[in-house]
């Protein structure tokens, strides 16, 4: 055991004051210390992308970042996507296009796609395919995930306020 450090994680607009060892990954802190278990852990070494969350708007692998490095940063997880009973356009699209079966990888795919579409709303289909190759899904064969994200991308572009 090494000494614990007091940090504050801002997750989906709420502050969590916790004390963690430096070796505590952000993914473990989100789940174990903050109780937000929507973020899933698959491989714990950066290969599968299941633990993808947004840190200051950037999709990152939460198993490859230490919680102490996220002190004071704004974190978004799958729990923050829906607005009450209204699903986020990406969640809705995953439902409509059958973009999930067992659902284990879904939070990671959702946060990856949300992060990328918010950063690059006009991303090309080819680049989107490259981005979606970041995460692993063992059920769907990916085609329906690609369909869902493309559909949501179109919808999110359509909803953009006129400049």
């Amino acid at each position: 055991m090494s000494e614990k450090t007091a940090i504050t994680l801002h997750i989906n607009g709420r502050d969590y004051a916790i004390a963690v060892e430096p070796r505590r990954t952000l993914a473990d802190a989100i789940r174990e210390d903050c109780g937000q278990t929507g973020t899933h852990l698959g491989c714990e070494h950066g290969a599968c992308g299941a633990c993808t969350v947004l840190v200051d708007g950037e999709p990152v692998r939460a198993c490859l970042m230490f919680a102490v490095q996220a002190d004071g940063k704004s974190i978004r997880t799958v729990e923050g996507l829906a607005d009450g009973d209204t699903l986020h356009p990406l969640q809705q699209a995953f439902m409509e296009h059958h973009g999930l079966q067992c659902g284990f990888c879904t939070p990671g795919f959702l946060m990856l796609a949300v992060g990328v579409l918010e950063r690059e709303p006009d991303i090309s289909d080819d680049d989107l395919l490259d981005v979606l190759s970041s995460n692993l899904c063992r059920c769907t064969g990916y085609q329906n995930i690609v369909k869902a994200v493309r559909a949501a991308a179109q919808q999110m572009r359509g909803n953009r306020p006129a400049r």
């Binding site: 090494s2 990954t25 714990e44 950037e58 990152v60 230490f66 190759s133 970041s134």
Partner: protein, 284 residues
């Protein structure tokens, strides 16, 4: 799959980082930049550093600049910074083409150019770029700063010329002449995976002939390097299928291909032939 305990240090300046590293280097002290290679290794407990010098809060290391001759890349410049050309020069386009081949989008947002070089995985794309373009690396320690040529820097699988108390603070890449052509090709079994072989071809096209030829191969030997035998085949010739094939053959013969449980040396040598030819075809 949980890293072993360590003490984290968070310096705010390069001087402070180097001072701390100097003090903890002998006790398994390591530098933490993007963490996209180091943290997985720690999760597997293949690395158990007792101290991590986390350089993520050192603003000065996030800088990138060019003085008209060299592009200087600070230790905290992330892979994603190169998604779009960072300089209006063939070098900017070359780096953008290579950056897309590195791992995956979220990894590219965190991992750093200099960290990739310090880690020195034989298949790393930036290591191939540094070796092919004869990069200059700047290492800092409490003893001062020193520059290291790329050809002296890479010394084997995950082995570099860096002393344990040295921090790779900057990499300098030469800007390229306007008539520079380049091609990059990487072979891996899955999108974003480690290269089983990769090639980078860079040359100037003057009066229809290839000059100042740099041809580098990565992922095949313990370190990426330029292949003089292949460069000699290309130099002074007009680009074309016959000469490209001859250069690819020369490269395949020149490398001492690594073997692992999935890949025989012969297969890897075949891959070298293929990636060199494809890189050259892309350049033309």
């Amino acid at each position: 799959m949980k890293p072993a305990p360590f003490i984290r240090h968070v310096p705010k300046t390069l001087d402070e980082a180097v001072r701390i590293l100097g003090a903890v280097a002998a006790e398994e002290g390591r530098v933490l930049a993007g963490g996209q290679s180091l943290v997985p290794i720690m999760a597997f407990r293949l690395a158990k550093p007792a101290h991590l010098v986390d350089i993520n809060e050192i603003a000065e290391l996030g800088r990138m600049s060019n003085d008209g001759k060299m592009l200087r890349i600070g230790a905290l410049v992330r892979h994603a910074a190169f998604h779009k050309p960072v300089v209006d020069n063939p070098l900017g386009h070359l780096l953008a083409a290579v950056a897309r081949a590195i791992a995956h989008y979220p990894i590219r947002l965190r991992g750093t150019f200099c960290g990739s070089l310090a880690h020195a995985d034989p298949s790393a794309e930036w290591c191939l770029v540094a070796a092919t373009l004869d990069a200059t690396l700047v290492a800092h320690s409490t003893r001062g700063a020193r520059t290291i040529a790329a050809r002296d820097f890479f010394q084997g699988i995950m082995t570099t010329a860096l002393a344990e108390d040295e921090l790779l603070a900057e990499v300098r890449l030469p800007l390229l002449a306007p008539d520079t052509r380049f091609g990059f090709n990487k072979f891996s079994r899955r999108a974003g995976d480690f290269a089983m072989s990769a090639a980078l071809a860079v040359y100037r096209l003057q009066d229809g002939k290839m000059t100042d030829v740099h041809l580098g191969v990565g992922g095949a030997e313990p370190s990426p390097r330029r292949i003089p035998e292949a460069e000699a085949v290309l130099a002074g010739q007009a680009p074309g299928d016959t000469v490209f094939r001859a250069a690819a053959e020369a490269a395949a013969q020149a490398v001492e291909a690594m073997e692992d449980h999935q890949t025989s040396a012969d297969y890897r040598r075949d891959l070298v032939r293929a990636v060199v030819r494809r890189a050259l075809e892309q350049s033309a």
